[in-house]
C-alpha cells in the first residue's frame, strides 16, 4: 500500500510539472510558496534579487546555483531571519513578509542552517524534542505540573527516537549535541527540523559532509516526506542527489533566478553548465580522462617552474 501511494505522489508531482514551460518564474498549478520581487542588498552588493518564483505543493524542489548566488540569503529572507529591502511573498496564500522567524516556523515553513546550529549543551534527544510543536509543557504554568505534559512528552520522544534511528543518531541519543562530528550535526539539524512536522521544509545543503551511503538511505526518507504530503525545498551542490530526488530545479545565479525546469533538462542547460556545473559534472572521470587531466596539470606545473626559475 505504501509503495502504491509513493508512486502516486511522485506521479502526481511529475504530472503537475509536465506541461510547464522551462523558464524562470513560471507559475505552478498549486503553489505553496509564491515569491515576488525580493531584494536584499549588502552595501553595494545585491545578494538577492528574485523577480518571481513559485514552489509547487507536494513536490521536491531543488535550488541550486554557484557559491555566493544568494541561496542562503534568500532562505533567510523567506524565513524571517533577515529583513528584505523589498518584496513580498505568500505561504499557503498568507502574506509572510515582516513576519518574525518563529511565526514563520509555526505557520509551517521550517528551515535548516547551512552552518549547523546544534544546541551544544543539550543532548541529541533534547534537541529533537525541542522541535515538536504545540507542546503543553512549554507554557510556564503548565510546566509546573509535570502530569500535564508527561503524556505528550512520551509521544514526542517516541517520534524523536524513530527519526534518530533513521538518521543513524540513535547511538548518540544521550550525548551532548556539541560533541557530534560535522556530518552528524547536519543530520541532527535536518532531523530536528522534521520534528516540527512542517508543511514546507527548507533544507540548506542538508547532505554536505554526510557520508554517501547514509545520504542514499536518507534520500528515501526525503521522498517519504513527499508521500506524507510535505513539500521540500532544498539547496544542494551534490548533483547526484539533485538528480535522484528532485521533481523540479530552480537555478539561482548572482541573486536572480536564471533557470527552472526538471533536473535532466536543467543539467544539460548550457548556461547552468557554464555557471555552475563545469565540464566534469556528468560523467565520472574515466582512466584516460584522469590521465589527461594530470597531464594538463603537469604542463601547467612545468610552466610555473620555468617561470619561477627565470
Amino acid at each position: 500500500m505504501h509503495a502504491e501511494t509513493a508512486t502516486d505522489r511522485k506521479a502526481a508531482a511529475l504530472a503537475a510539472f509536465k506541461d510547464l514551460p522551462h523558464e524562470p518564474g513560471v507559475a505552478k498549478p498549486d503553489p505553496i510558496l509564491v515569491v515576488d520581487n525580493v531584494v536584499r542588498r549588502f552595501g553595494g552588493l545585491t545578494a538577492v534579487d528574485v523577480g518571481h518564483v513559485e514552489v509547487q505543493r507536494g513536490s521536491i524542489t531543488a535550488l541550486i546555483g554557484p557559491n555566493g548566488a544568494g541561496k542562503t540569503t534568500f532562505f533567510n529572507q523567506l524565513t524571517g531571519f533577515d529583513t528584505a529591502d523589498s518584496g513580498e511573498w505568500t505561504f499557503n496564500g498568507r502574506k509572510m513578509n515582516g513576519v518574525p522567524a518563529h511565526k514563520v516556523a509555526r505557520a509551517g515553513m521550517v528551515r535548516t542552517f547551512q552552518l549547523t546550529k546544534a544546541l551544544s549543551r543539550l543532548t541529541v534527544l533534547e534537541n529533537m524534542r525541542l522541535g515538536a510543536q504545540g507542546q503543553k509543557g512549554e507554557n510556564f504554568w503548565r510546566a509546573l505540573i509535570p502530569g500535564s505534559w508527561r503524556g505528550q512528552e512520551d509521544q514526542i520522544t517516541a517520534r524523536a527516537d524513530e527519526l534518530l534511528a533513521r538518521f543513524k543518531l540513535d547511538a548518540k541519543r544521550e550525548d551532548f549535541a556539541g560533541s557530534l562530528s560535522g556530518g552528524q550535526r547536519k543530520l541532527l539539524e535536518m532531523a530536528r527540523a522534521l520534528m516540527v512536522e512542517p508543511e514546507l521544509v527548507m533544507l540548506d545543503e542538508p547532505m554536505a559532509g554526510v557520508n554517501p551511503a547514509l545520504t542514499q538511505s536518507l534520500l528515501g526518507h526525503v521522498k517519504d516526506l513527499r508521500e506524507q504530503g510535505m513539500s521540500v525545498l532544498f539547496v544542494e551542490h551534490d548533483m547526484d542527489m539533485v538528480r535522484d530526488i528532485s521533481d523540479w530545479v530552480i537555478v539561482m545565479a548572482q541573486g536572480a533566478v536564471i533557470a527552472e525546469g526538471p533536473p535532466d533538462t536543467i543539467m544539460s542547460d548550457q548556461r547552468v553548465i557554464d555557471a555552475y556545473l563545469g565540464a566534469h559534472h556528468d560523467a565520472p572521470l574515466s582512466e584516460s580522462e584522469l590521465e589527461e587531466q594530470l597531464h594538463e596539470a603537469e604542463e601547467a606545473l612545468e610552466a610555473e617552474i620555468q617561470e619561477e626559475s627565470k
Binding site: V110, K117, A118, L119, S120, L130, R142, P146
Partner: protein
Amino acid sequence: MNWDIILSTTLKAAIGVETVWYALAAIGINIHFGYTGLLNFGQSAFLAVAGYGLAVTVTVIGLPFWIGIGVGLVAAVLLAFLLGIPTLRLRADYLAIVTIAAAEIVRLIFRSVEFKSVFGGSDGRRGFSQGFYEINPYAEGTYGFWPLSFNEREMWVLTVGWVLIAIACLIVFLLMKSPWGRVLKAIREDEDAVRSLGKNVFSYKMQSLILGGVLGCLGGFVYGLATGSVQPDIFGTETTFFAYTIVILGGAARVFGPVVGASIFWVLLVLVNGLLSGAVQSGVITFMDITQVGPFRFLLVGLGLILLLVYRPQGIFGDKRELAINAR
C-alpha cells in the same frame, strides 16, 4: 585561638541571613544566566526595587506591610519589563554591560539627594519591618543548640528565608525538567536555532527575566527585613558580582548550585576572618596587625575564589563534560 567561636560563627554563616538572601539573588541569576544564558549583571536592581518598594510603601506612604510586599513584587516585574524590552535583543556581552548600567542608574537614583524625600538618600529607609515581626510565631527567647543560637527575630527571618529558598528551588526544579526549561536551555545555546523551530524567543527570555527577577527580589525583602533597613549601596554591582560568584561556585544550571554556593561563599568569608583574627590575636601571625585582617580576608577570599575555579571550574555540582563542550 578560640575555636568554639570560629566554629560557631562559621556554622552560623553557613545558614545565616546573608547566605539566605545571597542564595535567593543567585537563584535568580542561575535562571537568567545558568539556564537561559542571559548575562544579567543587574540583579541587584531587582533586589533594590523590591526592598525599596516595600520600604517606601510602608514608611513614606504608610500602607500596611503586605501591600508593601505586593508593591515590591510588582516593582520587580515592572523592572523586568523595563529592562527586558530594550535589552533582550542584545548579544550576551552587551546585555551584561547594559544591565549593569541599568542597575547603577537605579541605585544612583535611590541614593540621590534629589529624591531624598522619597528614598531617603544615602541612608535609605528603615522602620518598615514591624508588620513582619508582628506575625512572628517564635516567642521571645534564644533558639538553637550549641554552637548555633539565634534569637526569635533571626529565627523568624531564617525560617521564612529558607522556606522561600525551598520554594524557589522546587519551582526551578520543576521548570527546568519541563519542556519550558528545555526552551530556555536551548536559547542559551543558540537562539536562532530555537527561533527556526517556532519558539518565541523574546517571550521566553522575558519570562526568564521576570522569574529570575522575582525570585531574586525575594532576597531584597529578606535583606530589608533582617536588617530592618534598606540602603542604596548594598544594591551595587558588588552584590551582583558576588551572586555570580556564588552561582559559578555551586555550578551553573544546577538547582541547588546557588544555595550551596552561597553557603560556601559566606563560610569562606567568615572562616578566613575567624582564623586570621584568631591567629593575629594569639600572636601566631605577626606580620600584620589586627586592623589589617579585613583587607587580608578579602585578599584571601579572592585567592580562594581563584583556586576553587582553577581546580573545579565547573563548580561544586557542575558537569565537567558540559564545560568541555564550549571551551574555546
